[in-house]
Structures are given as C-alpha cells and as structure tokens.
C-alpha cells in the first residue's frame, strides 16, 4: 500500500511536534524515520497508525483519505516500542488476539486461528514457546512476539516504533537482518522509527531524517550519508569533524588551513566545513603545503578500521580520522607522532542558513 502524508502538522500544547510534513511512500518500501528524541518521528508514526490525531493536513493510504479513520479500520500493524504485549496472555493468545476480537461474522474459526498463529510463531522461530507468558521471555523474543502479533491481522502497513531500541547490541543486529529478510518475503510497506543512524542505514531502503518536527532530508541510505543536505544530517549520520572558518575568494580558511571551495566563490562570511573522519588524509612526511601539522593523541585499534585522535598544532582543536588497518600499517605511526593532515572531501555550510 502506498502512503501519502500531506502537509501534516501537530501541536502538543505549546510544543510544535510536527510542522508541515509531506512524504510520499511507495508500496512495498522499507522506510526508516530517523532523528533524535523530540524530533517528531514517533508522533508521525502514531499519526499514521491513527493512535494520535493531527491538527492539519491529511494522510492517504492508496490515494484514499483516511485521516479521520480509526486505527481499527486502517489495516495497520503496529509494533510498540516496549512491545506492549498483553502480560496476562500466553504468547499464543497474544498473537491470536487480533483475530479473536474480530466481529463474529469476520472471525476465522478456532482451527483457522490456531493454524495462522502457529505459522506465524514458526516464522518468528517461537513455536516452542507458545505457552509461555511475556514475562518468561527475553527481550528479543518479546520483540518477535510483538511482530508476529502485528502480522497476524495481515496488515497492509507495518509500523514499528523503535523496534530494536530496548535490546542489547548483539540481539539488535540479528533482528535487524531478520526484519529486512521478513520485508523481502512479505513486501508489506514498512516504516520504522529509530534514533540509531547505523540501524537506519543498515535496514531501510529509504531514510527520512527528521529534526524539530521537520524533515531534513529524504533519500536512500547512500544519498543521505554521502550527500547530506544540511549540517544536521551530516552531524547526525556518523562522526564528523568541523572546520569553523571564514570564506574568502573561494577558499575556507581556518588556522593555517586554506581549503578550496569553488562553489562559494562570491561568499565572504563565517562558514563551517564538514569532513567525515575517513575523509581526513594523513601523511607522515609533508608533501604539499595544503596540509597542517597535528599530534596523534590516541589510537583506537579495533577491527579493520583504525580511529586516530589528533590535536592540531596550529590551533587548539581536536580531530578524528579513520584509516584502514592496512593503510595504518603502511603509515607506521604511533601515539605522540606529528603527522600532516588535510581533508580529502569537505562540505561547507554557512551557519545563517542552518541553525545547529
């Protein structure tokens, strides 16, 4: 099912939770709503589910305006942040609930319900735990029960609120992979809320980055990571080094740095350059005069990527760089060494345009 969000606004008292949000989601997409807490992502999800009303705008499912329609009739599956499992029901009864509460005419027979529930339970690999109560399950198991429960009503849209938020790192990774697999099989339009950029980049096929009730950027994981449209997105998706300097004649100057930024030839103002840690070039011997000297403060050696913390020699600022282990070994550097660095790629934002 395709979803259109048209100019939706929502206030909670004096707090503007959402302002003028518009999104088009195609059928079968797997969307991540990414943003910090208070960005409005959960509110948007709850509005899509019909759990929350909206002040202005409209929600369309398959072109049909369902703004005032109750959650019951929206054919959605909602997975709650803390699962909201019915604590007094077994796993089986939890999953069967949505089918059991249907009006008598539409309700499947007991045998049909049992068959459906067992199918779902084996899908989420919980068949042997059907008689357990939620309190007897681990976090990851509860999450899968919640998912099976939402899927039981055969929703046209699956909405997940911080689906992996309460789980530990290892379980989280597994479930992530598993959600993507599930989505590939069922192709039900799915939207999940997360504040974890890695999760969004890893799972979604499109990411909606939100901040302060507004949409910062919509795009594929690649687009939003490689080509952030605002300093916020840059900052929120991954680590970033800030070069606060001044634009002058198409160059950004900061300390001894003078970096070419041809797109800003006519600007003469304060600006901030954003550089990802892996876009910091490091050399042991100065080969060109566009580099500056920095001292290695700390080396974090773990896994295939080496994180290097640097202190600039010209000004009192710290930088973070990332190199592959291979490259690190080639460089042959150690803590306390002086190296020469320059940004390989830099994106400039002028502060007045954006408030960070």
């Amino acid at each position: 099912m395709s979803i259109q969000v048209q100019n939706v606004s929502k206030r909670f008292g004096s707090f503007q939770a959402l302002s003028d949000i518009s999104i088009d989601i195609e059928s079968g997409e797997l969307i991540a709503l990414l943003g910090p807490s208070g960005s409005g992502k959960t509110t948007l999800l709850r509005i899509l589910a019909g759990l929350e009303g909206l002040d202005e705008g409209a929600i369309l499912f398959d072109g049909e305006n369902i703004t005032g329609v109750s959650p019951k009739e929206r054919k959605i599956g909602f997975v709650f942040q803390h699962y909201a499992l019915f604590r007094h029901m077994t796993v089986f009864d939890n999953v069967a609930y949505g089918l059991k509460v249907r009006p008598r005419k539409e309700r499947p027979s007991k045998a049909e319900i049992a068959k459906k529930v067992n199918e779902l339970l084996s899908l989420v690999k919980l068949d042997n735990l059907a008689d357990r109560y939620p309190s007897q399950l681990s976090g990851g198991q509860r999450q899968r029960v919640a998912l099976a429960r939402a899927l039981a009503v055969e929703p046209k849209v699956l909405l997940l609120d911080e689906p992996f938020g309460a789980l530990d790192a290892k379980v989280r990774k597994e479930l992530r992979r598993w959600l993507r697999k599930l989505h590939n099989e069922f192709h039900v339009t799915s939207i999940f809320v997360t504040h974890d950029q890695e999760e969004a980049l890893d799972v979604a096929n499109r990411i909606i980055v939100m901040n302060n009730g507004k949409i910062e950027q919509i795009g594929t994981p690649d687009e939003v990571y490689e080509n952030p449209k605002s300093p916020f997105v840059y900052d929120f998706l991954g680590n970033v080094n800030l070069f606060r300097g001044r634009l002058h004649n198409g160059k950004l100057t900061q300390g001894q740095f003078e970096i070419d930024v041809p797109t800003y030839l006519d600007s003469h103002e304060e600006a901030v350059g954003y550089v990802r840690p892996h876009d910091i070039h490091i050399e042991k011997v100065q080969t060109s005069n566009d580099t500056v000297a920095a001292t290695i403060v700390h080396i974090h050696l773990l896994g295939p990527v080496v994180q290097i913390e640097l202190k600039r020699d010209d000004i009192d600022e710290y930088l973070e760089a990332e190199v592959t282990k291979e490259h690190f070994n080639q460089l042959g550097i150690k803590k306390g060494d002086i190296v020469y660095i320059r940004p390989k790629q830099l994106k400039v934002f002028i502060p007045e345009d954006f408030s960070i």
Binding site: G77, F78, A84, F86, V101, K125, S135, G140, V171
Partner: protein, 292 residues
C-alpha cells in the same frame, strides 16, 4: 535466523534481604531481638488482646447463650440489613471506582487533580459529618425535607439514608486502589489492542480487566470491610429503630449500652470473624498479585 536466546532478561530476581545481608549491615542480636520484642508486645497490647477479649467475652456464658444471642430476631434483622447494604453499596462503588480510575488514568483533562481530591475527600471528613450532611439534605428540616414528606418518601432514618451515608464513607476504596495501578500500567496495552482491531468494550474486558483484577478485588475487599463495619455515619442517619434500621455495629452498640455484654460480644465476634477472613483474602490477593 539464529537460535532464540534463552536468557530471561526481565525475569524477576528475588533476593532475600536477610539472607544476603553482609555482616556490616546487621544489627547486633540484642538490638534485633529487643526490637522484635517491642513490636510483638505493642501488637499484643493493641491488636491481639482486644481480639481475644472479643471471643472470650462472647463465649463467657457458654455456647448456648452465644447461639441465642446471634439468633435473636433483632440480631438476625441487623445481619440482614447489613447484608442488604453490602449488596447494594459494594457493587455501586465498584462500578464507580472502575469508571473514575479509567477516566483519571487513561486521559488528560483539566480539573483532573480536583477530581482526585474529591475522591480523597471522604478520608478527611468525619463519619459523623458524613451522616450529618444527609440529614441536612433529606431530614425533616433539610433542604428536600418538605418535598420528601409531601411525597411520602423516607430517606433519613430508613434504608436509603443508610446507603447514602455508607457510600459516602466507602466509595474511595476501589478507585484509590486502581488509580496507581492503572497509572503504572499506562495505555500501551489498550492501544495495542485497539490497533489490532478490538472495540473499546472488548479492550476493557480482555486487556484492562485481567490486568487490574487483583487490584480491583483488593479494593472491593477493603470497601466491603468498611461497608460492613461503618458505625459513625450510619449511626447518625439510621434513627436506631430496632429490627428495622439497626445494622450490626449499631446493634452491638445498643446491646453494649444495655449492659448485655455477652450478646454484644457475640455479634462482635461474628464481625471479627469476617474481619479475619477479610485479612486472609487480602493476603491471598497480595500473594497472587505478586505471582503475576
């Protein structure tokens, strides 16, 4: 998909404090046992001895006198009246308690705190005043007195007055038990139920009620105990008409004031048994609620 992880992350961990207490956190045995002795002596003087007094005095003149006392027509009439009051008041207060707790815990609205204060109010009002206010409303000189007299409706010094005064004193019990419980449980399970297509009534019946049943029962038990035993408020509005408007506590008062101690304590012993049963049920509920 990997194997389900078998760790019970949120399994309740029960720690026996006294068993795990490190040495540094123990009082000396002398302190410990003197505190226990003080507690037991205090409880003996104030709770246990009075309870024993009731039964000993009741049976002082033998079993036959005891049976005669509690099967006396006035006693039976009092028991019947008390039962009638319980059967009307407790269900009414239960429905009120659930409705009030629902509106207070599931919604945000202006005046919510005022509503909670109103529900707590009877705890700050003397039972005697609880009786007085209904006399002022429905008594012969009360606001509706003339109208009631003209229409030949008796409220004060009759069953309706007893019911009203008892309701005033006992209605907070169920609501007060449910409000913190439902507050803690939040609305997510209800939201989940509705998002899965359940109607409001089904949601209440299948999701909310099973979650609050022990708290509800607990409130009902407390409400019931107070309803049976209410004395001050009922005393004001009942008119003390023997065999007609005397509830069990009022009957005890009359017998006691007429120096019929054995009979008074015989009826009192019945009520004490009810109280003990109440405590036992209460403990079973607490134990059950902990299990869930």
């Amino acid at each position: 998909m990997t194997k389900p992880i078998e760790v019970k992350q949120d399994a309740p961990i029960v720690i026996n404090r006294t068993a795990t207490k490190s040495y540094a956190l123990q009082e000396s045995a002398i302190v410990k046992w003197s505190l226990i002795t003080i507690s037991l002596l205090f409880l003996a003087l104030f709770l246990i001895l009075p309870l024993i007094t009731i039964f000993v005095t009741a049976l002082e003149k033998g079993w036959d006198t005891y049976v005669a006392s509690i099967t006396h027509p006035d006693a039976l009439a009092a028991i019947k009246l008390t039962l009638t009051v319980v059967l009307i008041v407790v269900p009414l207060n239960t429905i009120f308690g659930v409705a009030a707790a629902w509106v207070i815990t599931k919604f945000n609205f202006k005046g919510k705190n005022l509503l909670i204060t109103l529900i707590d109010l009877p705890f700050a009002v003397s039972p005697v005043i609880a009786g007085l206010i209904f006399i002022l409303l429905f008594g012969a000189q009360g606001l509706f007195g003339d109208w009631l007299f003209a229409n030949d409706i008796k409220i004060v010094f009759a069953l309706p007055g007893i019911l009203l005064a008892t309701i005033f004193v006992t209605f907070p019990f169920v609501a007060r038990e449910l409000i913190p419980l439902m507050q803690m449980q939040g609305v997510t399970e209800e939201e989940a139920s509705i998002s899965l297509g359940a109607s409001g009534f089904k949601t209440f019946w299948l999701v909310t009620l099973p979650n609050i049943k022990w708290g509800l029962l607990y409130g009902i038990i407390l409400c019931n105990a107070r309803t049976i035993g209410e004395f001050g408020a009922v005393s004001v509005v009942s008119g003390h008409i023997r065999g007609l408007t005397n509830t069990m506590p009022l009957h005890i008062e009359i017998l006691y004031n007429e120096y019929q101690f054995t009979a008074a304590f015989a009826v009192a012993s019945l009520m004490s048994i009810l109280a003990i049963i109440t405590i036992i049920i209460k403990n079973i509920i607490e134990w059950k609620a902990k299990e869930v």
